[in-house]
Every structure is written in C-alpha cells, then in structure tokens.
Symmetry: C2
Amino acid sequence: MKLLKKRILDSAIVLNENVLKVDNFLNHLIDIELANEIGKEFAERFKNKKITKILTIEASGIGISCVTAQYFGVPVLFAKKQDSINMETDKFVSQVHSFTKNRDYHIFVSKKYLLPEDHVLIIDDFLANGSACKGLIDIVRQSKATLEGIGIVIEKEFQHGRSQIQDKEVQIESLAIISSLKNNQVEFK
Amino acid sequence: MKLLKKRILDSAIVLNENVLKVDNFLNHLIDIELANEIGKEFAERFKNKKITKILTIEASGIGISCVTAQYFGVPVLFAKKQDSINMETDKFVSQVHSFTKNRDYHIFVSKKYLLPEDHVLIIDDFLANGSACKGLIDIVRQSKATLEGIGIVIEKEFQHGRSQIQDKEVQIESLAIISSLKNNQVEFK
C-alpha cells in the first residue's frame, strides 16, 4: 500500500534494528484519514470472504479495526489484556509474550461474543514475532469459529511472525512488509 | 440520544447498584453502526467548537473516538496506561483511580502530540466517579492546549463524576445519563 509506505518513510522512526516507532500516526496519535484508507484496502483484499466479525487486541488494534469494520458492516470484538471485575467468567483465554514489554500476559474474549457460526477477520497494527496473532488465532480455534483471514498494517518480516502462524491455509495480508531496519533504514520487501 | 438509551434498556446488564455492563455493544464487542450514530451525535453537539484533536484513554475509549473523529476530520490521541519501552521519555503524566479494578495507575501522553495550539475534545465511554476524565483534563492543562469539550457516551450521574470536574466552563455532553441502577433497573435522568 503506497500511501502507508510513504507515511512510514516520511514519519516513522527507526529506534533500533528491531523497533519501528509509528506513534505519530498509528498507535498513539492515530491519523484517521490514513486509517480510513487502510480500512478500504483491507476491504478490497478480503472482498471475497464472508466476514461476520473483526477480532483484534487492545489497545492499538482497536482504532484501525473500528474504522475498517465500517467497510465490512460488522462489529469489532477486542481481546482484553487484563481481567476486570466486569468481565465474564466464561471466556476464551490465551497467552501472549510481549517482546517490547518483555513479559507474558493473558488475553481474554467472552465466550458469548465468538460463536461457531462466526467468520472472523483478525486485524492488528503489527506482525512481529507473531505472538499476539497466535494468541488471537488460538482464541478463534477455541470458539470453533471460522478464521477467514488476517490483516496486518505493518509486518516486520525479519522477525518471522508469519512462519509462527501454524495455519498455512489462512489468507494473511500485510499492507507494508519491512525486510530490514538495519543502519537506521527502513527497507521494504 | 434515543437510540443509545433504547440499546441500554434492551441489551445492557445491571450487575449491581454501581455497575452497568455494556460489553455487548460498547466496550468488548463494539457495534460499529451504533458507534457511527454516537459519532454523528457528538459532531452535532460540538458543531460550534473548533476541534483539532480528540483525546481519549485506552482501551474502550479508542473505538468510539476513532469513529467520531471521522465527523470532525481530526486525529485521535489516546492516553496510554502503561509505560512501554517505545514510549517517549518526554511525556505528560497524570494519576487515575479505577474503581472497577480497584487500583491507581498512571496515564501518559507524549508531549509531542499535544500542543498549546491544539483545541481538544475529550471522549470517553463512561463518566462514573470522574477519575479518568480528571486525569485527561489534567493532561490537557499541562499541555496548555484549549479544552473545548467533553463527550461521554454513558454518564452514571449518581457517582457524581460531573461535580468532580473542576472546570465549570467546559461543555460536557453525555449521550445517556443514568440516575439510578437500583433494584436492577436502569433509570435515566
């Protein structure tokens, strides 16, 4: 996606060989015009799939997912990272490792909102090592819903998340694929 | 807002005298059609204000804010609840108490994204005791930006959040105001 790649080149900051900072348009300040273009692009790439629900993970996946959901006409379900006293006791749980925060955590989805008849599109801002994505796939599997696809805004290919996703059948669409962040340079695939 | 009140009566669950569960359309599963109507309503209520940025707090404020932002043509900035290694060191910080999670936590906004020339609309899903909202107002004050208004989806009036907000000048718009949850009944003001 040209517009996104241009924005990455113009505005993203390479913190080190592993970390690309995009908090000025994607995961702290959110450029809604760009989010809309991202939503349209996901709708185009998954136009042959029958989607009933978008599944994402808090917090930075939510904004992109909600804007995208308008193009599919479906609700957004976001996995929570922390147990709240208001949360269902009857829930799907999976474990995720955050490399940026260097800790393991559990993610939760209420069983009421992910059903065997659902056709799910997973959306997230980043695909790095694939841990968050694997957790979301695990939850879809537990629910017996059909996983129709995975839409990623930025994939850091050199962190091999794609190969960690066991289900080779699923359509994965990344709007920008980065092959290297070496020497403070963003290199696209 | 009639549509929202109807949805609350039809779908929300009164957990006890203090807690209204709306995770089937607002803060776990998000009904995007309803979110759009909420966005339009905020745009109407703040149409005389010049807004340059919507400020909210992760996680459940983000979805509503991103959909709403489309009607204002402005970006969304969300305060983060946890320090990440990718986060700016140069940030505005405030403290918030969560009654549902029964703990204090800090919220952060990078100083780069909230400027004295900004005109800010704060959006959140709930106004209960007002702690989250006070934290966001505090951050706007630190930044020297102008606070133009506060848009709340559901206000639990009996928890007195509105009176906790010190700035009496600011326009506060709540789309549904609940005066009581006693006897498992939602009563609107």
